[in-house]
């Protein structure tokens, strides 16, 4: 068993990597793609170990990563990958069976390669990195042991020395092998800095608005046929352009789902709860930013589902359920939103236990008349956990509140449907894009505000008797037996010229985090899609404002943030300004 003399840390091999940052970045991105593919495929292979086509599908990307590392002269990766590739080569020619030990080995290799590759830039910059030499050697020893154990003499296919760039060419395409992996190679793609893309999306958003401003110009109302026709043409092109630009930022949710497959596999072993994860709608496309920020909350949810939701096998058997828990993760479009659902067939939420816990934590009062759905919402409160034992991964009372915060930061919402003994479904609803929000335009004095439509529950013109005063000041609005705290936007934001009498204006009930507030404004102007712009560093401490939007007349309307507004309830304008 030859010991590798090139261990990571010998950074002479990174000279080429450091010299060409662009190529290096490409290598890292490519490798991440390929390793993701390998991971996905190997989980399939685990289900049908005899499928040689799958082995081949693993071999090819592996080979590519190895080759690319070789081109950059990163010997340590190349050699390591080559050793494992040798095993895969034997396997795809049917000389070595892919058993659990082999699959586990390949997964561990993928993990280690990911780590090594992720840390390459740090290494190249001379920063300290994880010492992987021992793990690497152990894996390589295990490969050697597995190869020696395989039936036919492996002499010709397991050269102990690194082979450099003269490694065997990628295997020829086999019948039926022209599958998914090849597809990506057929597309010609350009890698673009995401900043440039974001800028483009922003500019196109402005173009759409500028076009709308132009279309509403009174000078065009003269009824000049030709002019109107030409404008319509511009409008068509603009909206096509907008659609296509938006599409550029969209990526399929597949990669995120793959990570969940892996997580379920690892967790179900850890907790000794057999689980099957079924995926649906992996090709559903989401805004790149949404996908990035969805991974963490989904991981929390999957952990929770397996740790708390799924019962131990014995209990499942007694309840007449299949021993292996069925988890389902799906993504689909619904009514202009993207919906991601995680369903388990576990124990479901224990409403009484949650209520008891809520009372203990002082979140609800003892005898409060609450709907079960309202009680279930309590699990999203910070510090809430009913888990009897704290496990390594979940049950420490952090989790679901973070999940909800993350989802809401994406302007989405999360709901629970649960049936005791049957299982739980978490539904995440997300906007198609983060760049544009569907809003309702409000007028207060001479100012314009935009409130995101998803935060609005209802709006109406209040009757004087609906407004409840406290010490002469309006403080509550009654709507069908429910009292909502009142926030007079004109007063709290000190807007000049705002209507003083609430009953002369409009009241909007909006909600955030399960709490509601009645917003008193002068008038409701209409619906409008707006491009969200940050107000920048200077206004980062302003509460109740999420950003600015350029309106049809070129002015800026402030976009309201319901969560922030809720925090302003009960304060007067002067208190807020301080």
């Amino acid at each position: 068993m030859s010991d590798p003399n090139q261990v990571p840390g010998d950074d002479a091999e990174l000279a080429a990597f450091a010299a060409d940052p662009e190529l290096a970045a490409m290598f890292i991105a490519d490798a991440a793609d390929h390793l993701g593919t390998i991971e996905e495929t190997i989980l399939k292979l685990e289900a049908s170990p005899a499928d040689l086509k799958l082995v081949n599908d693993i071999f090819r990307p592996f080979h590519t990563v190895k080759g690319n590392a070789g081109v950059l002269g990163i010997i340590s990766i190349q050699e390591f990958a080559h050793r494992v590739e040798t095993l895969l080569d034997l396997a795809r020619s049917g000389k070595h069976p892919m058993g659990p030990a082999e699959i586990d080995l390949v997964l561990k290799t993928v993990d280690l390669l990911k780590l090594i590759i992720d840390e390459l830039p740090a290494r190249a910059a001379g920063k300290p990195t994880t010492d992987v030499a021992a793990r690497r050697r152990e894996l390589m020893d295990r490969v050697d042991a597995l190869i020696l154990g395989s039936a036919p003499a492996p002499s010709q296919s397991a050269p102990p020395a690194p082979v450099g760039l003269t490694s065997p060419p990628p295997p020829p395409e086999e019948e039926g092998g022209r599958g998914k992996i090849h597809r990506t190679e057929d597309q010609s793609t350009v890698k673009v800095d995401t900043k440039k893309l974001d800028n483009l999306v922003d500019m196109v958003g402005e173009l759409v608005i500028a076009q709308a401003i132009l279309a509403e110009d009174p000078a065009l109302k003269t009824g000049d046929e030709r002019l109107i026709r030409r404008l319509a043409h511009v409008k068509r092109i603009t909206s096509d352009l907008q659609r296509d630009t938006m599409a550029m930022r969209m990526v399929p949710i597949r990669q995120t789902f793959q990570k969940m497959s892996r997580l379920v596999r690892d967790l179900s072993r850890k907790f000794e709860k057999p689980c099957m994860l079924n995926l649906a709608g992996e090709d559903t496309e989401l805004d790149r930013k949404v996908v990035e920020h969805l991974t963490d909350p989904l991981m929390h949810m999957v952990r929770n589902a397996i740790d708390h939701g799924v019962e131990p096998a014995g209990i499942r058997r007694a309840a007449g359920k299949s021993e292996a828990a069925q988890l389902k993760l799906s993504a689909f479009h619904r009514a202009g939103f993207i919906v991601v659902e995680l369903t388990d067939d576990g124990a479901g939420l224990d409403t009484e236990q949650i209520r008891a816990r809520g009372v203990k934590l002082g979140l609800v009062s003892e005898g409060a008349a609450l709907e079960p759905s309202e009680i279930h919402q309590l699990i999203f409160q910070p510090g809430f956990s009913t888990a009897a034992t704290v496990t390594e991964l979940s049950g420490r009372g952090v989790g679901m509140d973070v999940v909800r915060r993350n989802i809401e930061a994406l302007r989405g919402r999360i709901d629970i449907q649960t049936v005791r003994g049957k299982g739980t479904t978490f539904t995440i609803q997300l906007p198609l894009t983060l760049a544009i929000v569907d809003g309702i335009l409000l007028g207060v004095g001479g100012d314009r505000f935009v409130i995101p439509t998803f935060a609005v529950q209802e709006s109406f013109r209040p009757l004087p008797e609906q407004v409840q005063t406290l010490q002469g000041q309006p403080c509550m609005v009654q709507v069908r037996d429910r009292l909502y705290p009142l926030l007079h936007l004109g007063e709290v934001f000190s807007v000049t010229g705002a209507r003083q009498r609430i009953s002369e204006g409009t009241v909007i009930i909006c909600h955030d985090n399960g709490r509601c507030v009645a917003l008193a404004v002068d008038e409701l102007i209409g619906k409008q899609e707006v491009v969200i712009k940050g107000l920048g560093e200077m206004f980062k401490d302003v509460r109740g404002i999420a950003g600015g939007a350029i309106l049809g007349d070129g002015r800026i309307g402030l976009i309201l943030d319901t969560g922030g507004l809720l925090a302003l309830v009960g304060k007067t304008g002067s208190q807020v300004a301080a």
Binding site: R448, L535, G544, I545, R555, L558
Partner: protein
Amino acid sequence: METLTGAAATAAGHATGGKFLTFTLGNEEYGVPVLKVREIIKVMDITQVPQVPSHVLGVINLRGKVIPVIDLRRKFGFPAIEHTERTCIIVVDVELAPVRVMMGVVVDSVSEVLNVADTEMEDTPDFGGRATTDYILGLAKVKGTVKILLDLDRVLGTDGTLGRF
């Protein structure tokens, strides 16, 4: 050793000349390094933002970019006046740690771009602790008048010389 030419280099310890855009506030004449200036625009519709000090007038739409606007009169404690047709917004680059931002500064009127020679520069005199002068780059005596040259990063920035915003 060559110091920064064009912009005034405070690091040199001694104020140096360069090109300055001058403007008026009340009866006083001020100047800012011309390299900090992006453009000069007419006063447009300013959207007020709540919960900010009174000298922060709000935000404007500068060709699709949302930028904050500061009233330099209020910042310096002058009485507020009605905007006239000479009132301008000077759009400048300001270091607002940790980022650079564009910002609009409302002034009474913009005068000219002035070439100040090193010899015309005078260090800020000591006013005996009555007024903070850290935000002044120096004084320029040109054609018999005195221009107060401002270090905008200190006037508008976050370093707290003139209080946060």
